[in-house]
């Protein structure tokens, strides 16, 4: 379906003053080129200037059959005939046809545009053969138009120029020939000047001639190099197109698109040799009239088409091979049943169209998007070739179309009697390639495969051909030969440029000579957008749900996107040049502003459209976001009219929910917030809890809301989250009694689950900075255990991150006591190793901190200022696996401590962690270093650490030095199994030595006895004997030796 909107894409028209009947027309580079019908010359007119003045004329070598302009290199390429031979020629440096006049005539410097026809023809044109550039023929370049004759072994039928590289593609009968554009730089030109000097007749050198030659230096000189041949033996090319390595070729009813890539590998070129059996089949078919079936093959599947292509690289430069891939094949069979004749199914207007995204630099990179357009007389097809090959749009024409031309914004088609324009959705494809995140809750863009629409057409008589350049469309009309108009040149029409009255059809041309060349200006995309926007208002007023409204707004949106792309491309170009002038240009800046504003406006309208729609209502969110409107504005736009039965649209509610879910810093006014509450209590009461807890809603009137929530509870029943929300309102009201009563309704466990269900009841600002809710602030004093449990619940359910929880506790709890409780609680609950290690480290630091600070502060002060901890060491050892039971020797070491119970707890917790399985001693060793070794508790920690690291010998020494009464408990605990050896290798000799030194030390003696018992039970008598010191009292050791020997005897 094609929507038709009565929008006016054209603003004005001008008639180009052509004296002789135009045969062929093409345009580009600010110029319009007219090949005089039957004549051998080209006239170039400036379409940028008022009245389209003649720039120059230049002769051609034969009758021009086809002409194309290339922006890159500013050259024209023609297919010409003379004496039944066909030639391919490139016309370069044509603009200097004017300047050369200057040198030939008086030498006046003034640029003369209005040349007399005779003068314009007098200039000589140089001719050279392809590749014969360096021999000096280029010397005159810059001062003279030059033709490059391009020899071909087959007759050329069609040509195309690449808009990106300026390369040339020529279609011959069965081959396509690709020529790369070569531009000679200045140095080589200067180098070649010695030829010029040698060309002078030495006696006749003149300084004035010297001047002329040096003026040529700034011009780059063109040449072509034959680079690739594509053989298509079964294809009769009618038209070709070339763009960034993509080659499109069109026969009568088929289009084939190929991609050429330079490959580094020296592979043999891919040859899809025709399958002989297949060929037979085709020959058989030729005997009957078999209509080939309709086919559309996309991507690599196009290889399955019956067109074989082989590639041959001919260029001298670049050793690499060229690879060929299939991109698209389309065969359009005539539908005889629809009353179509064969000629009505002939394809025309093949085009490859590049589009650059705004983050690309146009000159260097290959375009982000390439589109392929081709057309039947009744239907046009637009394919997107990059980023997934797909049919983007199908254009159904109301009448038989003769020619079509695709531009960035619009597709222009001509029928015999009218120029019509259609919308183009290429920008939607480009926008998605530019920004892969465009289809999210943040951004949106209308779908690129949306149906196209036709705009108002403009009547003309006898249209023949169309071409386009920038925002200008050039039309050639000739009166039908069977209705010849009287020849009478109405000279008063000359130079006439008049505005169209917008809706009146074009009056029939009364110009006598029966032909006309028009330059039709299209309106700016912004102007067309504005008309569409106005038009859409009428739709909006009549029927809010109209699909057409959405469509029209989407069309307008894509139009703006296309403008933005172009702006981006222009900025990229400007970046190369002078960026400052670009920025300071006030007109440009205003245009920028207008365009941005228009996009915001359009997004707002699209937002409105989706907010009321039931289809794809989620799109209201991104469009409203892009509109930059405030929530208050958006609410106002969606307020139902008092008279209308409409309630709030699903898209609007979706938007609002999302907005409120997001942790924005933006706070709604009380008025707006209350309205939001009303909207949801009317449309979606179940959402009220989540609405109320949004940080944007802090300004709601609590009393009013509490009432509404109470109603909700009455109708929907009690829920924990609802109760907590109501409690929140009570807190806002300062009604602690009601708060306590509400909270008291549920068990702590139920409350924890409630908080997990709706974390925002506790924590605001899920983003970078977390803030406590009023309930949290209340809980910290009244129910700290609940708060910690709830936070742990949130953390374990991934509703809050550790850092966020830390922030909350730090903000509320200046002593960090609850924070430590929280960490201990997480340690109990968590199973994530990374979190556990992190927390173990933090807790060790905290415990050490408490112990060291206890040393420096008077104990009385500490006890009063500190809150009671939720869990003591005993609790943790019982309930948390990371806290181990204290080793028995620690109890011997730590007699009931003199310091505060708080510090006792810290010490026990730290010792317990060191006795536990999880703490990595290495990671905390640096922290322990700061601890004193002079206190018993300090010693205990150092010993724990050393023992954990396996430093038994030093630990034994330390213990014997400082606290020998604990040595046997220590040895019993740690010197087991593999460590048994330390009993006799370290402990026994140590004790022997130490008792010898102080024989009256009963503690040491007791320890020695214990040790001897253990050693004697573990060793053979011989070994044991070895251990006894030489100077020992035999009687002392004898009982142990005896016990040892007895143990050895068989029973």
């Amino acid at each position: 379906m094609v929507h038709v909107y009565s929008c006016h894409p054209f603003s004005s028209q001008r008639i180009v003053q052509v004296e002789q009947e135009p045969g062929l027309v093409c345009c580009g580079g600010g110029a319009l080129f007219v090949v005089v019908s039957g004549g051998c010359k080209v006239e170039a007119y400036s379409v940028e200037e008022e009245g389209c003045p003649l720039i120059c004329r230049f002769p051609t070598m034969g009758t021009v059959k086809s002409i194309k302009y290339s922006k890159i290199g500013d050259y024209l390429v023609t297919i010409e005939e003379k004496n039944d031979a066909t030639y391919l020629r490139a016309y370069t440096n044509w603009r200097f046809q004017v300047q050369s006049e200057r040198f030939y005539s008086s030498g006046s410097v003034k640029y003369c545009v209005h040349l007399s026809a005779q003068a314009a023809e007098r200039a000589r044109v140089g001719v050279r053969l392809l590749g014969h550039l360096l021999r000096g023929a280029s010397l005159r370049s810059g001062i003279q138009t030059e033709i490059i004759e391009i020899p071909l072994s087959e007759r050329p039928g069609a040509v195309a120029c690449c808009p990106i590289t300026g390369d040339l593609l020529v279609a011959c009968e069965t081959t396509l020939v690709l020529f790369t554009l070569r531009r000679q730089n200045q140095e080589s030109l200067i180098q070649s000047q010695h030829i010029l000097h040698s060309t002078w007749r030495t006696s006749q050198q003149s300084p004035s001639q010297d001047d002329t030659s040096s003026s040529a230096v700034n011009v780059s000189i063109l040449d072509f190099e034959r680079s690739v041949l594509l053989h298509l033996p079964k294809f009769k090319p009618k038209q070709v197109a070339l763009c960034g390595g993509y080659v499109a070729v069109q026969a009568e009813v088929e289009v084939l698109v190929l991609k050429l890539d330079a490959s580094q590998e020296n592979k043999t070129p891919e040859f899809s040799a025709p399958d002989p059996s297949h060929e037979d089949l085709l020959e058989d078919q030729a005997e009957f009239l078999i209509i080939p079936r309709h086919q559309e093959l996309l991507g690599d599947r196009a290889r399955d088409c019956d067109i074989s292509v082989s590639i041959e690289k001919t260029g001298l430069e670049g050793r690499g091979q060229c690879t060929l891939s299939y991109v698209l094949f389309r065969r359009l069979t005539p539908d005889f049943f629809q009353g179509c004749s064969v000629e009505e199914t002939q394809l025309h207007s093949l085009q490859l169209h590049p589009l650059f995204t705004s983050n690309q630099s146009v000159s260097e990179e290959e375009p982000a998007c390439i589109f392929c357009y081709f057309s039947l007389p009744s239907t046009g097809y637009l394919y997107s070739l990059k980023g997934g090959i797909e049919l983007l749009s199908t254009y159904q024409y109301p009448e038989k179309v003769l020619e079509a031309v695709l531009t960035d914004y619009l597709l222009h088609v001509i029928t015999k009697g009218a120029l019509q324009s259609f919308t183009v959705h290429c920008a939607a494809v480009a926008a998605r390639i530019e920004d892969p995140y465009i289809d999210t809750t943040m951004k949106a863009c209308p779908p690129s495969n949306m149906e196209v629409c036709a705009l108002r057409s403009q009547l003309f008589i006898g249209l023949r051909s169309v071409c386009a350049f920038g925002h200008r469309v050039i039309l050639l009309s000739t009166a039908d030969s069977d209705t010849p108009e009287e020849t009478e040149r109405s000279t008063q029409r000359r130079g006439l440029s008049r505005k169209w009255t917008l809706s009146s059809p074009k009056e029939p041309s009364k110009v006598g000579h029966g032909w006309n060349l028009y330059v039709v200006d299209t309106v700016t995309p912004l102007a067309l957008y504005q008309e569409m926007a106005e038009y859409s208002q009428r739709y909006a007023e009549t029927n809010m749900q109209a699909q057409s409204l959405w469509h029209l707004l989407s069309e307008a949106h894509i139009l703006l996107r296309a403008s933005l792309l172009q702006r981006g491309a222009e900025e990229q170009i400007a970046k190369g040049g002078s960026a400052e002038t670009q920025q300071t240009d006030p007109q440009k800046q205003r245009n920028h502003g207008e365009l941005d504003e228009a996009l915001r406006q359009n997004c707002a309208q699209l937002g409105d459209c989706f907010s009321r729609s039931s289809q794809e209502c989620h799109l209201a969110l991104p469009y409203y976001r892009m509109s930059g409107l405030s929530v208050t504005d958006i609410i106002a736009r969606n307020r139902p009219f008092p008279s209308s039965p409409h309630s709030y649209g699903p898209g609007f509610l979706f938007f609002l929910k999302h907005y409120l879910l997001e942790e924005t810093e933006q706070r709604l006014s009380q008025e707006t917030a209350d309205e939001v509450i009303d909207i949801f209590s009317q449309s979606e009461p179940s959402q009220l809890v989540s609405v109320c807890v949004s940080p944007s809603m802090v300004n709601i009137s609590p009393a009013r809301t509490l009432q509404i929530l109470q109603h909700l509870e009455d109708s929907m029943g009690v829920s924990v989250t609802l109760t907590i929300t109501m409690a929140t309102m009570a807190l806002h009201l300062g009604d602690l009694v009601q708060y306590a009563q509400l909270i008291g309704r549920h068990t702590e466990m139920a409350l924890v689950y409630g908080f997990i269900e709706e974390p925002r009841l506790l924590v605001h600002g899920g983003g970078v900075r977390a803030r406590p809710s009023v309930v949290t602030q209340q809980l910290i004093t009244s129910m700290p255990g609940l708060l910690v449990a709830a936070m742990v619940g949130l953390h374990e359910n991934n509703k809050v991150k550790l850092e966020q929880a830390d922030q909350i506790f730090k903000e509320l709890d200046c002593e960090n006591c609850l924070l430590v409780d929280f960490w201990e609680a997480i340690l109990m609950a968590s199973s994530q190793e990374a979190v556990i290690q992190d927390l173990l480290f933090r807790l060790v630091s905290v415990y050490i901190d408490r112990l060291t600070n206890a040393d420096t502060q008077p104990s009385s002060l500490q006890t009063t200022s500190r809150r009671r901890q939720l869990r003591n060491a005993e609790d943790l050892m019982n309930s948390c696996s990371h806290y181990g039971a204290l080793y028995p020797w620690l109890t011997v070491l730590n007699p009931p401590y003199t310091s505060s119970s708080h510090n006792q707890e810290a010490l026990h917790k730290l010792q317990s962690l060191l006795c536990g399985p999880s703490l990595s001693v290495d990671s905390i060793a640096p922290l322990l270093e700061s601890l004193s070794k002079n206190t018993i508790w300090g010693l205990s920690l150092h010993l724990l650490c050393a023992t954990r690291r396996g430093h038994y010998e030093s630990s034994i020494e330390k213990l014997l030095d400082c606290c020998p009464q604990a040595i046997i408990a220590y040895a019993n605990h740690h010197l087991q199994d593999n460590n048994m050896v330390f009993w006799w290798q370290k402990l026994l000799p140590e004790l022997c030595n130490r008792t010898r030194a102080s024989s009256d030390n009963s503690i040491l003696l007791a320890a020695l006895k214990e040790t001897l018992v253990v050693v004697s039970s573990e060793m053979s008598p011989a070994e044991f004997l070895e251990l006894i010191p030489d100077d020992a009292t035999a009687s002392y050791f004898l009982p142990y030796l005896l016990a040892c020997s007895l143990r050895q005897l068989p029973p």
């Binding site: 019908s37 002769p59 004496n83 039944d84 001719v127 014969h132 007749r201």
Partner: protein, 202 residues
């Protein structure tokens, strides 16, 4: 507007310095420059004129006479309708070279029936006093080689220049199958097998 315009390609050949470019300039712009560059490669221009009631677009091709530019000029002989063999009356060598020019033209232009091809011979620099080639010598050469028309010209004085070019047009009309060269405005005859341009590059 079914007017038929004839496009005639006329090519100037002859040794470097005999005055080919000067003749063309004199004819088209009616100017003479005593300090002219040697021509490099090939240049052409179109001139509309009426001869004996026929509207003609005369495409005059000026070539480089110097030997070193040979490869640049020869590809463009093909398709010529008339060849102007030019020498300078004060340079006997340029006269002697006429036969070579003729041979080179016939070879590269791929003329099918050389005897019937319209050549016109021009003896330029008539204004110079020290002649090396006599009128008789020149006329005799023209006679012996196929009865070519001979003009003694001076690009400097404009003697006989227009006459020589107009004669060239008449010769083309007179030669065989001139109607084939008439190019109708709106239809193109493609019944003949087209000659390709590729074989002209060596």
């Amino acid at each position: 507007m079914a007017t038929k315009t004839s496009l005639q390609k006329v090519i100037l050949l002859g040794d470097g310095g005999v005055g080919k470019s000067s003749l063309m300039n004199r004819y088209v712009t009616n100017k003479f420059d005593a300090h002219l560059f040697h021509t490099i490669g090939v240049e052409f221009l179109n001139k509309e004129l009426e001869v004996d009631g026929h509207q003609v677009t005369l495409q005059i091709w000026d070539t480089a006479g110097q030997e070193r530019f040979r490869s640049l000029r020869t590809p463009f002989y093909r398709g010529s309708d008339c060849c102007l063999l030019t020498f300078s009356v004060d340079d006997n060598q340029s006269f002697l070279n006429l036969s070579n020019w003729k041979k080179e033209f016939i070879y590269y232009a791929d003329v099918k029936e050389p005897e019937k091809f319209p050549f016109v011979v021009l003896g330029n620099k008539l204004d110079v006093t020290e002649r090396q080639v006599t009128l008789e010598e020149a006329q005799q050469w023209c006679q012996e080689n196929g009865g070519y028309p001979y003009f003694e010209t001076s690009a400097k004085d404009a003697t006989n220049v227009a006459e020589a070019f107009e004669e060239a047009v008449r010769r083309v009309f007179a030669s065989d199958e001139r109607t084939d060269h008439l190019i109708p405005t709106d239809t193109v005859k493609l019944h003949r097998k087209p000659r390709s341009a590729s074989s002209c590059c060596a």
